[in-house]
Subunit: 336 residues, 2 copies
DNA sequence: TTGAAAGCGCTAACAC
DNA sequence: GTGTTAGCGCTTTCAA
């Protein structure tokens, strides 16, 4: 077994209190005493036990991150930024995947995990915000990209409606008129896809085009394969789109794949815009036009929100609703 | 503050012991008593404090995963599988990114993190195995894809030499003779790139071809941009390769990008093979031939190793050295 | 400046 | 089947 603070104290001929002071640099300690203690620590290979420290402090220094899939480039990139940002604050991140499963999201909150974390950053998928915050209570929660929590919890997201509108307007500005949308998820409760659909339709209407149901393709998930399938359906049902707005880059890349297989030229025959700005899109063929959310800011702000709540003595700070900037990055898939 | 086991006991009119039994389902409890306790738990919203439980048990139920970058598709996918596998064992995973920084790798082991984890799975980058296991002691460590730990720690990896040899042999079997390699990393200490280079050269020699230094391109990192640059250098220096073996799919995708920009046809002018079998490769243009390691098995075995050590009373179990299967997946980039 | 000791919330050995 | 209690390793109040 490894040695404890008591062992160090005994070895250095001082009390536990003094060792604790040395380790934390808290109170003033006589230089000679400090030296002796340091020496004992070294010799015994002592390392403080975090469980004990957490028990005392009532905090664990661990913040949870719950995302649908680590596997997805967008979430992986975001998770990476969050981990970096957390380290800057001396926090550790535990990552959980919900795999788009409502039960998994709930279990995450009610299960053991709920007690080991000081707070949770969650990108909801299957559950609506109300359920999540209710299940988490009293754990501080930050929602990523969720619709209308109505002051239930802090929230950080891009303006999905505006971003989708811009993306669609860009396609229309190229003279395209039959603009399809890939990525609706009517079976989900998180609302993100619905917001993007709203923006898409708004842009069409503003250009004097009536949105048509056959232009809107739902998908079961957001993988390349789903985008490829949706694109194939779009072509098979005779919608004859001359442009496609995919609600994620992965879907867009799948759509590009199908377009290529079917002998369509991009952007000449079909222009394509994605959402997320993942690295694959920058090196795909053709390179992908996309909506780029400021992921660094999402990470920074989410952790700031959490820090405010965990360290704040007051419980009644109103829920923040932060909108993070985005920009349209035009590349080859729309002739950029 | 949230309520403790004692509060529940008081409310249910039983002792702490009984509540503990109910929570853990350990000893037998009278049905009526159980009901009362459950009710009290419900009413108070009681949740066990994991810090206290850890302190008691001497274990935290947390296993660390240290990878160079979450951002990279290969590691993201692997991390996802490890998280799933960990959940199956009721373990929580904390993920740390080393960003290829030796100092970060060391700090991870000597810092606070070392005390909160029951064990660590690490994909080393900058530090050699000896340093890692030394710094981690007495924390159980599993190395992923590292060269020759010589019994220092458990290790799980594919047979890099054999896999690289197969990939190269595949290119040679297509009649290619000027087979280049992208992805050497002489500045790193983890050895993986060197093993793949060995396999690459061995295959060339077996085909009666003398490996040439100008065919081997080093890279600072394994991103698409590095692959793109390496490919450009290869073309600019007049090596005139008719095939390229990239040590990772990301590098390969970057190389494909450059080939396209330079007007080279793949596979007609240059055939390309990658390594990792990430999802992007399956939907790229052209689709990418690659070496596919069994990632599920890497995840499962790594956790099995850790479980054996954490739960094993004996300290002298010899270090395991597990080789995970791989297979060559032939796709369009080599005419498959 | 340092020591003694209480107690964070939980589990389990020991009683009954 | 249930109660009592010691103690995991640490921080911190109170004394000295």
């Amino acid at each position: 077994m490894s040695s404890s603070l008591k062992d160090v104290a005994a070895r250095a001929g001082v009390s536990a209190r003094t060792v604790s002071n040395v380790v934390n640099g808290s109170a003033r300690v006589a230089p000679e005493t400090r030296r002796r203690v340091q020496e004992a620590i070294e010799e015994l290979g002592y390392r403080p036990n975090l469980a004990a420290r957490s028990l005392r402090a009532g905090r664990t220094g661990i913040v949870g991150l719950a995302i649908p899939e680590l596997h997805s480039p967008y979430f992986a990139e975001l998770a990476g930024l969050l981990v970096d940002e957390a380290r800057r604050r001396s926090w550790t991140v535990v990552i959980d995947q919900t795999r788009g499963d409502a039960e998994a999201e709930r279990r995450l909150l009610t299960g053991d995990g709920g007690r080991v974390m000081d707070g949770l950053i969650i990108s909801p998928w299957a559950l609506p915000a109300e359920d999540i915050t209710a299940a988490a209570r009293p754990l501080p929660v930050v929602l990523l990209g969720e619709r209308s929590p109505q002051g239930l919890a802090d929230r950080v997201a891009v303006d999905n409606v505006a971003a989708a509108e811009e993306a669609t307007a860009h396609l229309l500005s190229l003279g395209r008129r039959r603009v399809a949308a890939i990525g609706l998820q009517p079976h989900l409760r998180n609302g993100t896809a619905e917001l993007r659909a709203e923006g898409y339709r708004a842009a069409l209407r503003r250009a004097g085009i009536t949105p048509r149901p056959e232009w809107e393709r739902p998908v079961p998930a957001l993988h390349r394969a789903d985008g490829a399938r949706a694109m194939a359906e779009l072509l098979d049902t005779g919608a004859e789109p001359d442009a496609v707005f995919a609600f994620s880059d992965e879907l867009a890349l799948g759509a590009l794949h199908t377009a290529h297989v079917r002998g369509l030229r991009v952007p000449e025959d079909v222009a394509v815009v994605g959402f997320d700005d993942i690295e694959d899109g920058r090196f795909g063929r053709p390179t992908l036009t996309t909506v780029s959310p400021d992921k660094g800011q999402i990470a920074a702000r989410a952790l700031q929100c959490l820090a405010d709540r965990v360290y704040s003595p007051r419980n009644d700070v109103p829920a923040a609703d932060l909108t993070v900037p985005h920009r349209l990055v035009v590349r080859a898939s729309t002739g950029g």
